[in-house]
Symmetry: none
Subunit: 424 residues, 2 copies
C-alpha cells in the first residue's frame, strides 16, 4: 500500500497564472511536518476530462490524494462531480447538508439561492469535511481500498483552517503522520555555493539527516532535514551535523531559519554596545532601511545621510569636492570620506560609506555598472572593499547586493575586533 500523499490543485486560474499557488506550498509544508512523504504535485484546470487524466496518473502513486479547488456553486466547479464519475459512483446529497447551508446564509442575513445547492452534492460514500468559514464543504473518502481522498475549497483561508480542524485528525486516525520530517536552514554570506558545498562535501551525501545547498541573490543556504519519530529525536539526529557545518563554515555562517543578516549585525552591535551610522549614495537608504527593520535597532542604529547628490556628500559629509572632480564620486577615497563624515556627524562608533554605479546608465570602461566601493571606519581604523557585481545585472540586484555585502563586512569587522580583543 502506498504510504505517500499527492496534491492535486484544480483551477483554470492557476493555469492562466492569475493567482499564485500558495495552497500547494501550505500543504507541502504540512505533509512534511506530519512526516508524510510527498513526491508529486499536479495542477489541472476546471475540466472533467483532464481531471480524470490527472486522477488516473495519481491513483496508483498515492495513498492519500489531497485536492483543492473546484468546490464552489458555479458550473465550472467540477471537482466532486469528476471524482464521482471517475470512481463510478453517483452524487448524492447527505441528509441535513442543504439545511446547514441555508442556515449559514441566514446567519449572514442572506438567502441561499438554488444554485448554491450544487455544493451539497457529494460522491456517494464520502464523509463531509465541514467548512465553518465558507459555504463549500469538502469530503474525506476512501475512494478505493488504500486510496484516501480529501477535498478542500481553493480559498486559502478556508482550506488551511479546514485542513487543521479536520484533515490532520483524519490522517492521524488512519495511523499516518507517525513520523515527523523536520528541517533547519543554515544561512551564509560571502561564500559561493560551490565553494561551500566543496568544504562540507562529506556531509552532503548523508541520508538522515540530508544536507542540501541552495543559492539565491548572493546568499547561500544549507538545509538540514531529518526524519524521526518526533521533533526531539529529529533534533538529536541533526545537532551534530549542524554543529559541524557551522564549524566548517566559520564566519561565512550568519544565522539560522528566520535570522537575517541585518539581525546578525544588530545582535553583535548590541552585544558589544556599539552604534553605527550610514552614508549611502548608490543604495539610497537601503542599508538604513535594513538596519532599522530589525526590532530594537534604535539601540544601535543612529541614522545616516542619504548622500545621493554630490552636493550632499560635500556639504553634509565633508567629502572633498576636489577629490570628486579628480577621481569621481565612485572611488575608494570618496567612500572613505563618507564613512568618516557620517561617523563624525552622528557621533557613532562605526561609520559606513557606500558609493557605486547601480546602473543601468553611468557606466564606463574603467568604471562599469556594478562597481561599488565600501568603506567602514571604527575609531581610527578603516577597512575598504571594492565590488564588481556585473554590468549586466539589474539596478535592484546591484543595490541589494551592495547593501547586504556592506552589512556582511560590518558583521565580520565587529566580530574580528571584539574576538581578537577577548581571546588573546
Amino acid at each position: 500500500m502506498n504510504r505517500n500523499a499527492e496534491v492535486l490543485c484544480v483551477g483554470t486560474e492557476l493555469l492562466l497564472g492569475q493567482i499564485l499557488n500558495t495552497n500547494a506550498q501550505y500543504l507541502a509544508n504540512e505533509l512534511a511536518r506530519l512526516g508524510i512523504p510527498h513526491y508529486f504535485q499536479t495542477v489541472v484546470g476546471d475540466n472533467k476530462t483532464r481531471l480524470h487524466q490527472a486522477l488516473r496518473v495519481a491513483e496508483d502513486r498515492a495513498g492519500v490524494l489531497v485536492l483543492t479547488g473546484g468546490l464552489g456553486p458555479t458550473p465550472d466547479d467540477l471537482t466532486h462531480e469528476s471524482l464521482a464519475s471517475y470512481f463510478g459512483v453517483p452524487l448524492v446529497e447527505p441528509p441535513g447538508l442543504w439545511a446547514d447551508l441555508q442556515a449559514k446564509f441566514q446567519s449572514r442575513g442572506r438567502v441561499a439561492t438554488v444554485i448554491q445547492r450544487k455544493q451539497c452534492q457529494l460522491p456517494r460514500g464520502a464523509r463531509v469535511l465541514p467548512n465553518s468559514w465558507g459555504t463549500a464543504v469538502g469530503v474525506c473518502w476512501e475512494a478505493k481500498p488504500g486510496l484516501h481522498i480529501l477535498t478542500f475549497p481553493g480559498v486559502p483561508q478556508e482550506m488551511t483552517r479546514m485542513w487543521q480542524a479536520t484533515a490532520v485528525p483524519y490522517l492521524q486516525n488512519l495511523g499516518w503522520g507517525q513520523q515527523v520530517i523536520t528541517s533547519r536552514l543554515l544561512r551564509f554570506w560571502g561564500v559561493g555555493e560551490a565553494t561551500l558545498a566543496q568544504r562540507v562535501q562529506h556531509l552532503l551525501g548523508g541520508e538522515n539527516p540530508t544536507v542540501a545547498p541552495y543559492a539565491q541573490g548572493g546568499e547561500v543556504q544549507l538545509r538540514v532535514t531529518a526524519c524521526a519519530a518526533n521533533e526531539a529525536a529529529a533534533h538529536v539526529l541533526m545537532a551534530p551535523v549542524i554543529s559541524e557545518l557551522k564549524t566548517l563554515a566559520g564566519l561565512d555562517y550568519f544565522g539560522m531559519g528566520e535570522e537575517t543578516l541585518p539581525g546578525a549585525v544588530g545582535a553583535l552591535l548590541t552585544q558589544h554596545g556599539q552604534t553605527v551610522a550610514v552614508a549611502e549614495s548608490c543604495t539610497g537608504g537601503l542599508v538604513g532601511q535594513l538596519l532599522s527593520g530589525v526590532v530594537g535597532s534604535s539601540h544601535y542604529f543612529q541614522g545616516g545621510v542619504i548622500a545621493y547628490a554630490d552636493k550632499v556628500k560635500t556639504d553634509l559629509l565633508g567629502v572633498d569636492a576636489q577629490l570628486i572632480t579628480q577621481v569621481g564620486a565612485v572611488s575608494p577615497g570618496v567612500a572613505q570620506q563618507m564613512a568618516l563624515g557620517v561617523q563624525q556627524l552622528l557621533g557613532s562608533d562605526w561609520g559606513l560609506g557606500l558609493t557605486g554605479i547601480s546602473g543601468p546608465g553611468g557606466g564606463t570602461a574603467s568604471k562599469p555598472v556594478g562597481l561599488v566601493y565600501l568603506a567602514l571606519v571604527q575609531g581610527s581604523s578603516l577597512s575598504q572593499r571594492e565590488y564588481r557585481f556585473g554590468s549586466n545585472q539589474s539596478r535592484d540586484f546591484i543595490r541589494r547586493l551592495s547593501a547586504y555585502s556592506a552589512l556582511d563586512v560590518l558583521r565580520r569587522e565587529i566580530y574580528a575586533k571584539f574576538t581578537s580583543r577577548d581571546d588573546p
Copy 2:
C-alpha cells in the same frame, strides 16, 4: 501533434513547502500571454526515478515541456542528467561552454572550481539556452519528433530573463502562439478596493475585455484582459475600457503595469523640474530607497537624513529638542520641523518628513503602534497627514504603508500645485 505546453518544476524544496512556486505562475502567465494552451503543471523532487515518471506522463500530453530547477553544480541537481537518460542520449559538453563559464567567474574576480563544470554537461543534440545572469545554462531540445523541451534554472531572476531572451523567440519561431490573451494592470493608491469597484461597477461584468479587481498591501489594482488574434487587436478592445477606468479613478490612478508609485512621483518631479529631499525616522531610509530605485532619480532626488535617533533630528535637522520632550518625537510638529530641516539643509524644492511608531513595541494608548505623521513642505507651503495603520499590523507593513502613503501624498501635491497653475 500536440499544440500545448506543460510545466514541470523540479525541486525537493518545493515538495517540502520551503519555497513558493512563483516560477509556475510566471510561466503560466507567459503561456497565456502567448496564447499557448497549458493544461497541466507538475512538481517533482530532485530524484531521477521520479523525474522519469513525470516525463513519462508528460511526454505524450505536450508539444512543449518547460522544466525549471535542478541545473546547478551540486549532486542533487539532476535535471539534464535525467532528461538525457530518459531519452537515451549521453551527456556531452558543447565546445566553448566551460571556457565561457570560467570567463563568467573571472569577470567577477573569482575562479570556477571543477565542481562547476557539471553545469556544462548537456543532453546530446540539445542547444544551449544562454544564461547571462547566472552560471547554470538551460537547453532547448527537440527530444523526440514533436516534443520540444526547454530547461531553466530555478532562480526566478535568471529563469524569467532567460525566458524572455531565449524561449519566447524560440517558441514563436516554431509558429506557436497564434492567439494572444493580453492584459493590462491599472494601479491605484489612496482608494479602497470596494469603493473603486463600486465606482467602476458597470465595467466589471464585461466579457472581452474582462475587468477584475485585486487589493494587496494598500494598493488596489484592476486587471483588464482581452483575447484576440494579435496584440494590436487586443489593445483595440481594451483601449476604451482602460480610458474610462482612468477617467473614473482620477488621481487615485497612478500607473499601469510595471509603473510604480515612486516612478510616478519621479515622472512628475522631472516634468516640473523639481527636487526632493527626505527626513525619515520610522521608515529608516525606505522612502529614499524607493525614490532612488527609479532609473534617472539623480535628476530630482538629492538625498536625505535618516534621523532614527532623536539626537540626529535635533543636531542635523534642527528639530526643537524641547518640542520632542514636550510632545514626543512622534508628533505633527516634529514631522514638520524634519521636513523643513531637510529642505533647508539640502536646498531642495520639496522636503518630506516622516515620524511614527512602527512597533512591535513603543505604543501607548494615546500613541498606538501604527500612528505615523507625515509633513511635506514646498517653498513655504506645508501639508500634513496623520495615519493610523493599525496596532495589530507588522513592523514591515507599517513601514511600507508609511513610505508609499508619503510618496502618494507627494504625487498628489505636485499634481495639485502644477495643474492649478497651468489650467486656470
